[in-house]
């Protein structure tokens, strides 16, 4: 398959390791990974904060970059960005776009996937040859869970990882409190939610908390770092990308 990789603005800029793992993983599985060079951002932050005119050019750019018929699927290591492409781009195009944009958006929407659903639903694989001999707990991010309905697909992938000690996170499906600009506009409520999430993570005694969204992990990881927790955060793609020949070393510095 020819896969268009969308790095997401946050992944490209702040969490490149998660995107690298995604690219390498898809190539390792025998697929042709292309990176349309003029991609930037899906516009989710704008829409969720109440701005719908401003992201019109971003929606248009996304449709242009990934609309090419030679691209069979668009894959991204983010449930919330995939949710934005599937559920918000149409709203923007309908309100402020033209017929061409509406057509482009609906073409791209139909072939857009978050990483775990692409692997399990489209490729039909759950064992990707990963090796990760550490204690791990999984936080299902809200947009993966409720916008995309990825269900237990990430868990299927994790269970098939060689060497992993996967432990269930208590109250897993409650929101971590990130919510984009919610974390700024309602910082104290967001922090209260984060602290409960961190308490549940601590109860698992996991070395790593993983998820399918770098944004939620930035929030949870930022909190864990602040309290000098012994648990770190790592994107799901990085665990799936870790192999016996090139294992992810927990001791290596984050960057």
């Amino acid at each position: 398959m020819r896969i268009g990789l969308f790095a997401t603005c946050l992944g490209d800029t702040l969490f490149p390791e998660a995107v690298k793992s995604t690219a390498v993983l898809l190539a390792r599985l025998g697929h042709d990974v292309v990176f349309p060079p003029d991609q930037t951002c899906c516009g989710q932050m704008h829409v969720n904060t109440g701005y719908q005119r401003e992201p019109v050019p971003l929606v248009r750019r996304f449709a242009e970059q990934f609309g090419d018929a030679s691209i069979d699927a668009v894959v991204m290591p983010s449930g919330s960005c995939a949710g934005s492409v599937r559920h918000q781009h149409e709203i923007i195009a309908e309100r402020y776009g033209d017929a061409a944009l509406r057509a482009g958006v609906s073409t791209v929407k139909a072939k857009t996937y978050e990483l775990s659903e692409f692997l399990v639903d489209v490729l039909g694989v759950s064992r990707v040859g990963a090796y990760f001999p550490h204690r791990v707990t999984y936080h299902p991010t809200c947009h993966s869970l409720r916008m995309l309905r990825v269900g237990d697909k990430p868990l299927k992938l994790l269970r098939a990882v060689e060497g992993i000690d996967l432990v269930e996170l208590p109250e897993a499906d409650s929101c971590c409190g990130f919510g984009g600009t919610f974390a700024l506009k309602n910082a104290e409520t967001s922090t209260a939610m984060l602290q409960d999430k961190m308490r549940n993570i601590a109860a698992t005694d996991a070395a790593v908390c993983t998820a399918g969204d770098s944004s939620c992990l930035m929030h949870i990881g930022g909190g864990l770092s602040r309290i000098r927790s012994g648990t770190r955060t790592l994107h799901l793609a990085q665990i799936l990308g870790s192999t016996r020949t090139a294992p992810y070393a927990l001791t290596e510095a984050a960057r």
Binding site: L14, L29, H31, N48, G50, L145, A187, H219, S225
Partner: protein, 514 residues
Amino acid sequence: MSTFLGMPATPPRSPYGTGNLRGDRKFPKAAHDELRNEQLRRNLGKATRTIRTKRLGVTGELPDWEQLRDAGSAIKTDTMNRLPELLEQLEQKVTEHGGTVHWARDGAEANEIVARLVRATGSSDVIKVKSMATQEIGLNEHLESIGITPYETDLAELIVQLADDKPSHILVPAIHRNRDEIRQIFLDEIPGVDPDLDNVPAHLAAAARAYLREKFMTTKVAVSGANFGIAETGTLSVVESEGNGRMCLTLPDTLITVMGIEKVLPRYQDLEVFLQLLPRSSTGERMNPYTSMWTGVTPGDGPQDFHLVLLDNGRTAALADTIGREALNCIRCSACLNVCPVYERTGGHAYGSTYPGPIGAVLTPQLAGMDAAEDDPNSSLPYASSLCGACFDACPVKIDIPSMLVELRHQHTEQSGTTAEKLAMKAAAGVMKRPKLFAAAQKAAALGRIAGGRDGTISHLPAPLSGWSDSRDTPAPPKQTFRSWLASAEGAATMSAAAEEGARHTADDHEEDR
């Protein structure tokens, strides 16, 4: 819809200053205080967790729960699409059965109508059935201001009233109180209560019962709300757990019901859907203990004088809004409150409205407006959500609350003039629509490594990001972005090695297939 001269340009909103649809502080400020209340946090956490678990148990056991939700949603949507005709039908049927119907444009009008009706009976007291509509319009405060004493008879509403407090939950108004606090409120406020009263729930309930029995037996006028009003028959209905409502609905001579116009249902048979959806979603019970229904007046049985006050108070304004219309489908079950992580931490008072939680964050600005330019507290409500979507999943009539919050945020930014945030959003979009500029901005961000110090984390950020950095470290931007890695020799080598491995795997697979 045709337009004619003299037609009001905008339907009426709930008026400023009447009722309880607007707090005096914005959500983040109110939440700041509530979050400090450890007792509140513990009470709420325990209560919402309990109801959540119960609800999942009783909805999970119904094989057709999803179809019931679809049916509820469809009936409500149909109702809103032909609300005027259904209301006229309801009025006609209630009148045919000996009731009197009154129309109230807003809370102030409804309060005046009820006050006039109570005065006409000569009674200076009324007993009340728990009712969100009368909370919304501040009826108790209005009656008290003219010398009429309202007595709440729902146990939780009574606790709130005795403590001179405000309800903080649609279904469990005193959810923020524990039994020690309730014991103290009863000792302080109920005349003649046993001074040795302890905090055992049964004893607390007995104290309230003794107090309320006397009110039921002596008060001649009752005021209620309505969960449903059936257009086809003119039947009104109240569902409850305690039976105190039934006492009010049957013992007095005069019954005055205040009903929001969105509570009408087309057919009697529609109750079969809602009487399954409502108790399971709200209290986590298969059926509520008491369902009362009455149609007009019945000679020699129950109240002989029945009045129905149909309340608009911003509902036609919501109806006129394509997205706001969906908020009127709400059946006030409070399932969304009990699953909301924001509500669970801040409690209901932070929302400043009779309707707290996710549905309140949508419904309150719809009914009472949100004047962004005037710094209206209601304009902070659409942002009081992390958009986690748990409310949408829990809603028995499938109201898409997260999408509505996003839409209200959009309406808010469209109303407000130029703000620093708007300029920042425009600037960000301006950079992101130009890939070269975006790449340059990424390079500039990498300079932020300097701020990262030795351990590669940033612990202090300037306003407006300081709210973030108060409780979270931020990783310093890495040396290399993904795209620059991909363009580098290392990136190219890594990707081609992975591709070779992929080609081998694919060949092996073909080998195995053979």
